[in-house]
Symmetry: C2
Subunit: 256 residues, 2 copies
């Protein structure tokens, strides 16, 4: 059980890939990682998207691994010329980038003779000291080194790698979320009372999110923290506030 | 980057909001901004997602506005307690945060007597020297100060603000994109030939993106740069490479 008094460990997410920065690809990895890491009590405090440029990757990895308890990277571990994450992680740690004995043997065995070529061998080449993150989806693994966890960019592969890795992460108290929403309560009218509630619940993050639906517009108020009873209590106060302002509050998030 | 003309201006995107870092909200603003900024020749080189924490916002704004020609922020300019972007921008620039005469007058006129309350007045309070980014969608404007452009987090409002702002931005040569895809050509087989093509087209960014569809898996190769003829030429070489590897290349991106 996590120590109730200790602060939760923190995480950063680093999305590596020109395709996200150019608008070609809609990132889907941050939301997955943020949700799952919140559930295991390692909240994400920052995310970055950077290009496939070695100097940028090395500098960013070194900055983020120093500032956060965990760094999760996605992208750039395939076989092509633009997949340079693995060697950049080695450079960031100042260790050799070399064949990983286990990964190499498994990958060599999975290809037909002659097909475990130089490009594929790069996927079995890792920073010295890396621990594999293996899945049944692909023979090419991710890996952890120190507090840095290196995963694929393809969402279904990344998700499988994360679930393989998760049991090895020492989590904290889960981040819980409580919400209430109401149509016809403008943010500008609820703001003052909401600020007063936030001030009384300093242990929670209370957020206000307007929504726009064909069925009507409104605002959702979300309280997040590690104390579910406290979040329930704060949302009860918000619910009363909404009702006092003439709204008809409904528990939970608005329907998608 | 082509060396026959001035380099394109660069951009960073800063997404401000606990809701994206917690996984509650799927960001949709980066992809829009990356695409539109590429079209007007101001490619996005980095994106960050940070929480609603004043010290983090101030430090990040100051770092990114120094490193890139433009910084576009989304989120945190509404009326509630967690909307602190505007005052943080003022702090980052070291200027007063004060009523903006034009914004204040327009907002005051748009509410019924007594409804332009303290929370809403915050949306008309801006760093001294701010230039408004106005739209017909909402009376609460975004603003520019120096090379920092401050927009809403709600996608349709942000998009309208960007289109209002865009004519004022001095763009560069548009980033064009050419693509070809083929089923049944594993990345591990095309990698070597693709690296050789990339080496001959240093002015282009050539990316390799595997795709997984019910209709079949394959790989898409995308060439991006400011020279459309060069991108066409590189993709023609990739197309020939795919065919030589036994694939049946199809122009363009794979269907969604």
């Amino acid at each position: 059980m996590p120590d109730d008094a200790a602060p939760n460990p923190t995480a950063a997410v680093l999305i590596i890939g020109n395709e996200v920065l150019s608008g070609r690809t809609q990132d889907a990895n941050l939301r997955f990682l943020a949700t799952r890491l919140g559930e295991i009590g390692i909240p994400v405090r920052e995310a970055r998207v950077i290009p496939d440029v070695a100097a940028v990757i090395v500098a960013t990895v070194n900055e983020l691994r120093a500032r956060f308890d965990h760094l999760f990277t996605t992208g750039g571990i395939g076989p092509t010329h633009d997949d340079i994450t693995s060697e950049c992680i080695a450079a960031a740690f100042g260790v050799p980038w070399e064949p990983h004995e286990v990964a190499w043997a498994k990958m060599a065995a999975s290809y037909r003779p002659g097909e475990f070529n130089a490009a594929r061998q790069r996927m079995a080449t890792m920073p010295r000291g890396a621990t594999l993150i293996e899945t049944t989806l692909t023979v090419a693994p991710g890996f952890s080194i120190g507090n840095v966890h290196v995963m694929a960019g393809v969402p279904r592969v990344m998700q499988a790698q994360f679930e393989s890795l998760a049991p090895r992460l020492a989590g904290g108290r889960p981040i819980v979320s409580r919400a209430v929403h109401a149509a016809g309560v403008p943010e500008g009218r609820i703001a003052e009372g909401l600020a007063a509630i936030q001030a009384r619940y300093a242990a929670l993050d209370i957020g206000s999110y307007p929504y726009y639906r064909e069925s009507g517009n409104g605002v959702a108020i979300v309280a997040k923290g590690t104390d579910a009873a406290l979040a329930d209590q704060a949302i009860a106060e918000v619910t009363a506030l909404m009702a006092a302002l003439g709204g008809a509050p409904v528990a939970g998030e608005p329907p998608a």
